[in-house]
């Protein structure tokens, strides 16, 4: 086959694939049912980009066809986010409330697709609009006006995708991890604004300490080979930077999660990490901080709240609710026994690659946290102790097998806050786990998940109804 024949074949195939993607996107957008408008929005974006590529493939220089192919492969991969966000795959009753909560923090121009993944993990992907814009702008044979036209429906908007483990679909309590994922958006903003400055503060020290260790450990191998020595030092310093970056991103995301959702975020992190090693060194675990380190910081963030609940007189809280809440606080404080052990520090101190970044995090943490929280809206923090009266009411409803969807006494009721529901659910779950030991716990937990999902949906409908009923009845 001659070169021009292969080029023609390539163009024909790319055109066919682009048409296929556009059709698939349109089909998904038109016939699927989603809990919010965000998945169709991404469909429409992908469909428009596919149509643009179809129309412009003939003008693409031969050398760029391979890049068009790469982009089409990515687009078809990204359609899976939409496909998995169909109602039947998601905890649909909490999607609208969750997106509302996420938007409140990330901004009204941000939209979230929530979809399951088979991996036992949560994750944030995106932002898509910016990425598509960048990808298309790199194709200089496409007129910029046409690019603008293809992206006009999502102009100025942001689309993210949050993934959750498929097997935890109905575990609304575990989905408090969404707070952490939202935290990644804030962590990225912090990273962009401050990371270089923080890294610059330790770069030389990291290089020197790494040099010392490499010379000490590898002297017999590297002696006299300055080139190899310099290369090893440079690689280790680069690793230290990556450990600092990865560590800060996770720790900031954790902190934002607990700032937004209170102890519910701590609890979901505790359960999520319960089957993982507590003290893995970041350089051996994808730059993730050791879980013990993370839990220590999370617990530290909640400590004041727990103490405030313990110290308060809790006037007006019924005895049963007080008993359940105090059991929860006792359990949460007992986590201190886990975090007082410093095996994670030993692990981190093993090499300069992790020791230097984490020593610096230790020193700079309060300042970093303050800077990160600066990217949040002013009214975003959640205080467990200040909400304790509401939580007590919701806990009592759960204890009576009633969805914790509203507080107050009918007819003077108020739809429950999304965050109060999650926290009340965790409070009640911890109590259940400590009290139910007759083999019915699994059923009780399933019932708890159902009641919480119903409550989240109901309170959302109730809020919407309340605002609409004023129009309908007046």
């Amino acid at each position: 086959m001659k070169n021009h024949q292969r080029e023609n074949l390539s163009r024909r195939e790319l055109r066919r694939r682009a048409i296929g993607i556009a059709r698939l996107a349109q089909k998904l957008e038109q016939i699927s049912k989603f809990a919010t408008n965000t998945p169709p929005k991404l469909c429409s974006l992908i469909g428009n980009v596919a149509k643009l590529l179809t129309d412009s493939i003939e003008e693409a220089p031969a050398g760029n066809l391979i890049h068009v192919g790469e982009l089409l492969s990515l687009m078809s991969l990204e359609l899976r986010f939409v496909e998995r966000a169909k109602l039947e795959h998601t905890p649909w009753s909490m999607i609208q409330s969750t997106e509302e909560f996420l938007k409140h923090t990330a901004g009204d121009d941000s939209h979230f697709i929530i979809r399951p993944q088979w991996s036992q993990n949560y994750g944030l992907i995106g932002e898509f609009v910016k990425v598509y814009e960048r990808r298309l702008c790199a194709f200089d044979w496409i007129n910029s006006e046409k690019i603008k036209e293809a992206l006009k429906d999502v102009d100025g908007q942001k689309i993210y995708c949050i993934s959750f483990p498929r097997t935890e679909r109905f575990n609304a309590l575990m989905h408090a991890n969404f707070g952490h994922e939202l935290g990644h958006i804030i962590a990225s903003k912090w990273d962009e604004a401050h990371f270089e400055e923080v890294w610059n503060e330790i770069e030389n020290q990291a290089r020197e300490e790494n040099k010392k260790e490499i010379e000490q450990w590898w002297s017999s191998v590297l002696e006299g080979n300055d080139f190899l020595l310099a290369r090893e030092i440079s690689a280790a310093t680069k690793r230290a930077r990556s450990v600092l970056d990865g560590g800060l991103k996770e720790l900031i995301s954790d902190a934002i999660g607990v700032h937004l959702l209170g102890p519910a975020a701590l609890c979901s992190a505790v359960e999520f990490s319960s089957c993982m090693s507590l003290d893995d060194n970041p350089s051996e675990s994808g730059d993730y901080p050791p879980w013990r380190y993370r839990l220590r910081l999370l617990l530290e963030s909640c400590k004041k709240d727990f103490q405030a609940v313990n110290d308060s007189e809790r006037n007006g809280i019924p005895q049963k609710a007080e008993e359940i809440i105090l059991e929860f606080v006792k359990w949460a404080q007992s986590l201190g026994e886990l975090t007082e052990v410093h095996d994670d520090s030993e692990s981190l101190n093993r090499t300069a690659i992790t020791r230097i970044p984490y020593n610096h995090i230790e020193q700079r943490w309060p300042g970093i946290l303050k800077e990160a929280k600066g990217f949040l809206p002013k009214d975003s923090s959640y205080s467990f102790s200040e909400r304790i009266d509401y939580i007590a009411e919701l806990v009592l409803r759960l204890d009576e097998d009633i969805p914790p969807c509203e507080t107050g006494k009918w007819p003077d009721t108020t739809p429950a806050d999304f965050r109060d529901i999650l926290n009340a659910a965790w409070v009640y779950k911890i109590w259940l786990v400590t009290k139910v030991d007759d083999g019915t716990l699994d059923n009780e937990l399933e019932k708890l998940f159902r009641l919480v999902l119903k409550a989240i949906e109901t309170s959302h409908v109730q809020r919407t109804f309340n605002s609409l009923s004023e129009v309908a009845y007046n």
Binding site: A35, I402, W410, V461
Partner: protein
Amino acid sequence: MSTLTKKQILSRLQGEQCARLVVTPLLSEKQVGACSIDVRLGNQFIIFRTQTLSEYDASKAEGRRLRQMQERFIIDFGKSFTLHPGTLVLGSTFEYLSMPKDLECQVEGRSSWARVGLMIATATSVEPGFKGVITLEISNVGTIPLKLMPGIRIAQLVFRDADPALDSEYGSGRKYQCPIGPQFSRLHEDKDFNMFDRFD
């Protein structure tokens, strides 16, 4: 056994602990009528997969087959679906009920809906101590398709005293526990079928 009037219903809704009737959320006070509470249509539904189902034989129904013969779907609040003449759909109340042990209630269709052909159920009884949403057997026995929307007031609950009050905990050994959506028939769990199998 007397039917509760509005005053008694209100008193039960605002009552304390074990005597309290919970219907949550009651979006509007107007839902409480002279002798009943109007309840709204939830957004989860179950239909038979008629295309692949030759018949429903309760004596042979079991787990996998049951899932194959029904289809669940969800309609968002603010959206609607059409119930065609001669079709049955299982829906549920939007409101979640927690019944005290000394009350039982009947679920009745609203006459306004009945007049256009919509039937809710024939005397569904909700027992004392029940907790959950109530499954509604919704059918269109009229001649024209009906547009239904989650959130509309579709049925009414009529409460009566249960005297003496139930003295055991509702739920243990019951077929449906704290449901939050419509429940498919569990007729197949009736032990009677084991008996009929042995008849020659």
